[in-house]
Symmetry: C2
């Protein structure tokens, strides 16, 4: 099972429009440092899942029929804005998303080919031979993480959360994922009420799952700037995700 | 004064995702036939206005500081979806838009650098040396057309409407624009209640303004398909707009 990041950035991505910080300036010169809004594609056994839809060129990236389904963690615009265009198309595609009466803009009203399926925490569903367990997260919108399994390959995709709730933590401890992709938006010392983890929190969480590798994602420009002057500050089991990078999870069955 | 179309398409653009009609298939082979969601940029006297924001790559097209202001005709997603990304940036840019308590998604709440100014029908405002008269249109959201003037060059941008209301018609008759860019989404014979003009309606409207050139825009794939088999069906003063095409309005002062 392979996950490929289409984006690893926070809401505005990198470079942020109009931002002159060193990280945003660097990304304007060298596109390999840019980060699109956080989303990914998972491939296994001929099934292809899109995880979140924050990139704006989905129609060009994925001609109709090339995606098996779309999984939406929550309805903030940076996770669904790519659907606003796609929904004027033809055909049928299943979109699995948390229960959220509001959705985003008029997506529910004018859904076009998008068939929204509201899924609940810990109620397993499958797309082809991939099995997905939604797990609760804590954010300013109803938000789910997705624990994704194919023939024993296990990957948890946990974005946009300020907490791993006890029931999710208990599930992960039992489930033992090979890789946990984890929200890590901010550098150490970010004050104020937050809806995302900072780096010390992400490192602390990783200690609870000693058998898992960690990939940090939903990276804000202030964290990238901090990492420029603090290289080698993440544990050996942890990497900072990059756009277009792939992660392989070995099948065990 | 020059207007350049960034997009001349209806909500989903052309090709529509998953559509196998001859027009959408042609546009997949030859991108010059594609249409992005309707929007345009106007340049005059060092001022640059963006008219609607339906294209998704505004940050790449317009680095911060290169737009003087953004004019929004209404808050349907295909006219504002590009703002969802832009608003996470830095700085300040004026956005002129109709009074609409709802807006789109959380644009008002998290507006970032976008400074929304709600404008009213027939209340002239200016950006640099360009003067804009908003005119009422009739759509399923509060919608304004924009009558744009620079040193006697006059252009009316009237998209997303099913009617030219009497007050707008009277204004246009008096104002005598050089060019009217007009919503024309559907081919002849399109049944049902509509929020956009079809081709016979657009041609009929053009007769009321004999001194103006007409550029049809917000073109749906069914109109393009009809035009493939009915070439030369528009009057000589009328053209069907194309993406990336420019229109020059002569200054007279």
């Amino acid at each position: 099972m392979r996950l490929k990041f289409l984006g690893t950035g926070a809401a505005g991505g990198i470079p942020l429009w109009g931002c002159a910080c060193s990280v945003c300036s660097r990304a304007r010169i060298d596109v390999s440092y840019s980060r699109r809004p956080n989303c990914a594609v998972v491939d296994a056994g001929g099934t292809r899942l899109l995880l979140d839809a924050g990139v704006m060129d989905l129609a060009e990236r994925f001609p109709s029929g090339t995606l098996s389904a779309i999984l939406i963690t929550h309805f903030h615009a940076d996770h669904v804005q790519g659907l606003l265009h796609l929904r004027w198309g033809m055909g049928d595609i299943n979109v699995y998303a948390p229960h959220d009466t509001e959705g985003c803009a008029d997506l529910y009203k004018n859904h076009g080919p998008l068939k929204f399926n509201h899924v609940s925490k810990f109620e397993i569903f499958n797309v082809g031979d991939i099995f997905i367990t939604p797990v609760p997260l804590v954010h300013s919108k109803p938000t789910l993480g997705f624990c994704i399994e194919y023939k024993g390959a296990r990957l948890a995709y946990l974005t946009d959360t300020r907490e791993i709730p006890p029931s999710t933590a208990a599930f992960l401890t039992e489930w033992k994922p090979h890789t946990i992709c984890l929200d890590c938006t901010y550098p150490p010392g970010t004050e104020g009420s937050r809806n995302h983890f900072d780096l010390p929190e992400a490192i602390e969480i990783s200690k609870d799952y000693p058998d898992s590798n960690f990939v940090l994602m939903h990276i804000g420009h202030s964290l990238d700037e901090w990492l420029m002057s603090h290289p080698a500050t993440v544990p050996s089991r942890m990497v900072v995700g990059q756009d277009n990078e792939s992660i392989d999870c070995p099948e065990t069955e």
